[in-house]
Amino acid sequence: MRHLLSTRDLSPQEAVQLLDTAEEMAAVSTREVKKLPVLRGRTVVNLFFEDSTRTRISFEAAAKRLSADVINFAAKGSSVSKGESLKDTAQTLEAMGADAVVLRHWASGAPDRLASSGWIDAPVINAGDGTHEHPTQALLDAFTMRRHWSRVAGRESIGSDLAGMRVVIVGDVLHSRVVRSNLWLLTALGATVTLVAPPTLLPVGVSQWPCEISYDLDAVLASEPDAVMMLRVQRERMEAAFFPSANEYSRRWGFTDARLARLDAAVGSDAIIMHPGPMNRGLEISSAAADSPRSTVLAQVQNGVAVRMAVLYHLLSGDRSSNPVEQQEVGQ
């Protein structure tokens, strides 16, 4: 693994390995010294061309827990607003000694461009590009689901995948990079995914994706899925009217109090409710659902740091010329 651009690039084994490493990283934050010396003397640049709080802070916390130095670069108020190109910005940062670039960009494909153009040497981590992919979000979602799924099955989460898990993803699929990254990763790990959305918020070609499509949230919830992920309604990306009113959206596709009550009334359903954040309370998810014991919203944030530590560790440690992760054995 040289860069992390898309969850499509991850084999199931690599994904399980990343999640296993993340489990060990999560254990670090319960210790007295919540820091590891692995990336001492390395510099990680957070290059953010789009607003973000949790992803940037999460990457920053992850890099700092691994003892790396962090440079935060936000396009707003920088020379980018004077017209500097992505190439020049990235090369400037590398000249300052960046060992890895975490890139969030409004344009789909910007991280691929940066990684494949030869402009810079450093590994590129996609922290969300346009409506394309958000691989670390998918990894932290998979991590959260795996913990739940292995607890349900009564086994260790280390080494296991999501075989047999039924996941429902609800909402604005059209604009969501989270759903794309999740779909590739979750199906690679053996889960089955059902997308529920208004027809206007499904992209062209969605029938080619490895998932089921439904327009009826209640029918899908009645089939007792193991995890329900609500997507944020991305108003900032909506130039047209995709649904008649917020009220109607909430009634048909939101996780309302009534749906929560029905889920709680169903015997034996231990489904979790997920949301990548930031939440529009009252629109796609009700406050009662967001704060219920089923909700993993805060666990997802917490797991995000561990998963990003694992990604940084796998990309930045080790001899660059030899890729495969070695099973722990060698070395006396």
Partner: protein, 191 residues
């Protein structure tokens, strides 16, 4: 830590310790640990994965059979040193392994690090760093099944199962029932 067998390279190997020898060495080490510590008070065993951990478990059982006040599962832990190694930049990325602290923590305890083979001493150096991040033991000791020499750092074991003079071109492999299905120590020479 020991080196995995490479099946494509047939090498001449000889067994230097059989299962009974390993068991005898561990019994002796267990008694040495108790004697050096003047009893089992505040004693904690930290095994370095992978093969140091089963060795630590066996030592704890032996200590418990010599001193009935000891609960073996409470004094054993596992210490992963991957993140503290000094060769991370030069080797392929290693997946970290599990660290398990003993129930009572390690603060103020006498920690005995347990590993299978002592060679360059670099694993133990990493382990000492890893311990500092877990807590502050009152003392740290080192027990190894095999000391094969060729130290690169000023590190010495307190309890040694067997001293094996080796050439640096040879490989010492420890196989344990829990991981490999057999108890033996083998020296392999490049042929």
């Amino acid at each position: 830590m020991s080196v995995p067998a490479s099946p494509e390279n047939p090498v001449s190997s000889r067994t230097v310790l059989a299962d009974a020898d390993i068991d005898r060495a561990l019994t002796r080490i267990a008694h040495e640990i108790l004697e050096a510590n003047k009893g089992s008070a505040d004693l904690v065993l930290l095994g370095i994965p992978r093969r140091g951990f089963p060795l630590a478990q066996r030592l704890a059982l032996k200590i418990a059979s010599a001193d009935s006040s000891v609960q073996p599962q409470h004094i054993v832990g596992q210490l992963d040193v991957t993140m503290f190694r000094d060769d991370l930049k030069h080797k392929p990325t290693r997946a970290p392994l599990h660290t398990v602290e003993p129930a009572g923590g390690i603060d103020g305890k006498v920690v005995v690090l347990v590993d299978d083979v002592l060679y360059s001493g670099r694993t133990i150096r990493a382990a000492l760093d890893a311990i500092v991040d877990l807590g502050r033991p009152s003392a740290v000791r080192l027990a190894v099944l095999v000391d094969r020499g060729h130290r690169e750092l000023p590190i010495r074991a307190d309890h040694v199962g067997k001293n094996l003079p080796t050439s640096s071109r040879e490989k010492v492999r420890v196989h344990l029932m829990e991981i490999d299905g057999v108890d033996e120590v083998v020296i392999e020479a490049d042929s």
